[in-house]
Symmetry: D2
């Protein structure tokens, strides 16, 4: 494997040698191409290299968004912009610099910081787009998903799958900010999006310690007999931090005792899953949590699809293609399709939340990986 | 629905009226039937009613095995019979009175009480038959499954899926008894059984608080990234009682608060499931735990397949076909295929462990239920 | 691999040496065993070797039923026994000599010769048992499946999946005989059987050249848009001989031209499949057709499950375990579970219809094969 | 249902009334938005209506491409542009007028007319993009797919699934043109595309009457025992016209006789399917063939996803949203996501080839339909 992002095992395009066109020939060609244009037609032979590259050559670029800056702007918007019907959410989206100014962190995924001041409500709505939230810090907000109030606390991963009504309210005395992830760009580009308003006021303003979805479904390996069958998204509304943390600790403890469990030496990772299928939490988005021991590093890999990381605790060096990012608490970094990436944990180790669009490509048999240094 | 076990919506067989055979005809028939016998042939017309009944007419009968008696005999066998290679296990099987003296609690399932005295070892072996254990009381035994020591404590449900090496040892000062369930009759009748010896001594004599399988897999909705994909049986070796108990309590609390969750009023139930698929823990055996509030009762139902119950706590009246059983701690009751059953909890409510062969029939599209009183 | 049926890679049972019981001990043991008997209990340690053998040791034996004899008896029964309501079918079942006089060709499968005289009707009924017919010779009968008249001609394979009403009538001037296969023993032993009468007279007495099911579904790789989704059994009622024959010829022609397609040199085979899933035609029965060039032979194999062959054309030597059968037109031979088998074609080659219960074991992850000589 | 494309059952967005910003406020907002821009951030509240519409509002527009014009231009390009390595194919792509000049007939699909003069070769290559060809007229070209020469004749539907090497050559004395369909836009936008060169010269220049894939797989309901299992794309390389035509005729004949089979009165349709799964021929593309009796019409429907039609024989009026197209032999018409469409056959009836990206949305649980006039 040579330069980052280059696919060494595919032959390069070699254009056939063709003698240059004479002026007469060129005139005839020009006429033909003009006619094609008029009829909304385009020849393949002039564009195949761009449209069908040897390997994915994403326009999206790897980028780091600084959490401190995000938070500052979110706070500022909290002072200047009300949250309510129409704008719906005080969310600030991360716009990949390579994607023409669209609020796409990747061609498929939307990521945003959402901010809610004390006492504020985000009204209920629903849409076909799948959504999750990850809580980097703070607490005091409940998100109400189809009438089920779900607490949001530090380290929690929360689901709002497509077509579920949802709204939020902050009952604390402090503002709260968190990461929102959705498949908005995929829905927009693929023309699958539907959106409907719900109630202005939340349907349930209670603030229980656990959501009802957790009480039914968040018991390990147990499912309620009253809800048999498979669902396309996970029925668990909240994956509480205490379980994620314990699972990662257990993997590292097993490794220390000489047993399998980690992904690679010093690299523990869990995938949030749908207990009715064992598959991903939603059809378009995969979510994971990774923990690296101090100094540990992940295996460099190329993958079809887009990953995003948010550092939860500690620090890391994240290499993506030919870029290197130093990442700390809250920073968000994306990996475009097929760019080689790996993570090297800092001296205190690192905890990272991670989400990707891999389920789309696995469902369509388009997923592919390459580990140039072997596994 | 009339008499128990009768299928009212199927027309009864009505034999066509045929004039009696003359002596000459009968002689010719006899010659023909004799010739058939010689050639290992049998006419359908003389046996169709028995072979193809209007609805399942199991030879297995509903029966209750008394736990106090079982335990007494297990203790006695502990005094008289050593456990070791050859006999393999000090297990006493429950033999359905309708099944010709075979140790089948149903045509598919084996159930036994297993007993291990302090300091005793049951040597390692493996077989294609799927097995589980349910711990009605006591503790101090570890079962070692493919090298992973799994503690056995009151209320725990434990798996030993087909082809996993396993042995047990009792490190406590008290003997311990538990319920073993396997698909031995199915394997025997279907000719699918394989058996191999393992080590005489257990491969790991440590006695950890949690099995390694739990540390990897028993975190709600989380799976290790290092083990992707689906497996035909659950990777969780032990479903600890604390989780089962909490899940049932949560269902009843949700019901009390006016939310769905229970199977029927006052009837909470969880199914032990495979976190890689959401399906049953093993391909041939389903396992559940049911909790009924005092006086609550389950919906009467006919089901294709065989269920068995063991009372864990409290007491219940269990109706099966035209039989009625009063069941207390540890008692085992079976329900033959298509016999109507329901449970009425005693004055303290009842906790029941339950296992069945339903996954076999669901996999083959042969499952069927009928609730004569509606749902 | 040594003696036929022996599983060399499993350790043999070695009973632990136990000193003989003293008379006093024996008396105590006897008392205990008597008490167990009274309580419908049986110790595992006295029976494990029989119940849990090292590899399947089927009670069913390999056997050959001679077609000429079958046909003679069927004709005789045609003279002596009317067909009609009650007896339902003039079918003579093949009873495996090892299975206690039951009409089971294997623990799962029923096979019979069915015989219908000119002008006779077999009245309509339905049952949960899955059924097929294979036409070894003759024509003139239509089987009416859920109101769809399906012609039966030489070489045709026909389906009557569970719960489909069906009856037959013979409109020809000649009697007709064919092979019936069902999962009656499985349904009987597993208590899954339901049976209902339909009309006395056939619901559609027309005699079209093709069934409606074929007109909708028997077009290669094409399915009607009006019937999307998957069904548990194939919607094709008749797999006409001309297609089977052509597919086998094509495989042999491809082999001759140097391309893959056959199972082994000189051994072509097709599986009848469900076009909505690509899987087996029914959940419990697999059906295939095999063609061997003169002198060709199949790879010796042990398989979990039961196969049956019927010779269609030509002749073969069929080795099963330590038995050898010479088989000709119409002869039926069964292979019990895990007995090594292979087929050697006679000098004119051989065409064989084949059915098995493999889908049951594949669905439950119990299928297993072993080719002692490699593949 | 009111205006075309309008989603009446979703509430319209109603912006919350907010008092206009004072000049000071506006300055602060401007500063904040400028800072967001600098940091590659965008507020949701200014863009939600566009990004998350009430229902899909595709930028793609319905359009008709005239076959006579397409063919004329293809012929002209045959005179002016050689086919060979680099440009790879003499294919002219249909560029949706709404999609910014990209050669996308929809956001997911590519459609092109490909043209090959007598004696010309299109060299071999492979790519992850899935491809098919539909032959509107002519014959004489063989496409060689993974070494298997596949004849292309009028009415044939041909597959070149992702990663299969393929090239074409024209052995006839006439040029030949056909329709190519691929998922190039999806692969390009989702960054999943890989491309590799194969041999310059075709790997097999023979011109058999049937491809080897058809000889193995194109027998109704029969599959070779030598290739068990499921594949992500159909193993059938060519769906020959004679089978498509017969299947459609059979559906109409069944309808005439009073039996089910057609999609709607006078509307027959088959779906090309994968015989190993019963599902679509490829993971991203569905292909169907529709036949309408003279004057018959299809049920008006809104669908998530993109359909394209090519008229094969006859003529039709195709309504899409608020547009109406008169379509004849070879004309191509596309239907953008969620635009209501229906087809009214002309006085001779109409035969239409149809392809869509529906499998993508079904796999991700995003498919949705609405028939405003009921079904």
């Amino acid at each position: 494997m040579g330069a980052p992002g280059k696919n060494d095992y595919a032959t390069e395009h070699v254009k056939q040698e063709v003698p240059p066109a004479t002026p007469e020939e060129q005139a005839e060609l020009d006429t033909m191409y003009k006619r094609m244009d008029d009829l909304h037609l385009k020849p393949l032979w002039t564009q195949i290299g761009g449209l069908m590259p040897n390997h994915p050559e994403p326009r999206a670029v790897a980028h780091k968004w600084d959490w401190a800056e995000l938070l500052k702007l979110a706070q500022r918007s909290g002072e200047l912009v009300p949250v309510g019907r129409g704008g719906e959410r005080r969310a600030i989206g991360l716009a990949n610099p390579g994607l023409d100014g669209n609020t796409y962190i990747s061609p498929t995924l939307w990521a945003a910081i959402q901010y809610l001041a004390p006492g504020e409500n985000a009204p209920e709505h629903r849409h076909s787009q799948n959504a999750f939230r990850f809580v980097i810090e703070g607490e005091g907000v409940w998100t109400v998903v189809n009438g089920d109030p779900v607490p949001m606390r530090r380290g929690d991963f929360l689901l709002t799958p497509g077509w579920n009504y949802h709204g939020h309210h902050n009952i604390a005395t402090e503002p709260m900010a968190w990461l929102d992830g959705l498949d908005i760009p995929f829905a927009y580009q693929m023309d699958t999006g539907f959106f409907e308003y719900g109630t202005e006021k939340l349907t349930d303003e209670s603030t229980p310690d656990l959501s009802r979805s957790e009480r039914l479904w968040a018991h390990p390996g147990l499912r309620p007999v009253s809800f048999p069958g498979k669902t396309s998204y996970s029925p668990i509304g909240r994956y509480a931090w205490e379980h994620t943390d314990a699972a990662l600790n257990d993997q590292l403890a097993l490794e220390e005792a000489g047993y399998p469990g980690t992904v690679a030496p010093g690299h523990a990772a869990i995938r949030f899953s749908n207990p009715t299928t064992g598959g991903d939490v939603m059809t378009t988005i995969r979510a994971e949590f990774h923990r690296l021991r101090p100094g540990a590093s992940t295996t460099p890999i190329h993958e079809v699809g887009n990953r995003c990381f948010q550092v939860f605790e500690g620090s890391a060096t994240i290499n993506v293609g030919d870029k290197t990012f130093e990442a700390n608490h809250g920073d968000v970094i994306n990996v475009p399709s097929w760019q080689k990436w790996n993570i090297v944990a800092g001296s205190d180790g690192v905890d990272l939340f991670c989400f990707s669009d891999t389920p789309i490509f696995e469902a369509l048999n388009l997923a592919r990986t390459f580990t140039p240094e072997g596994i």
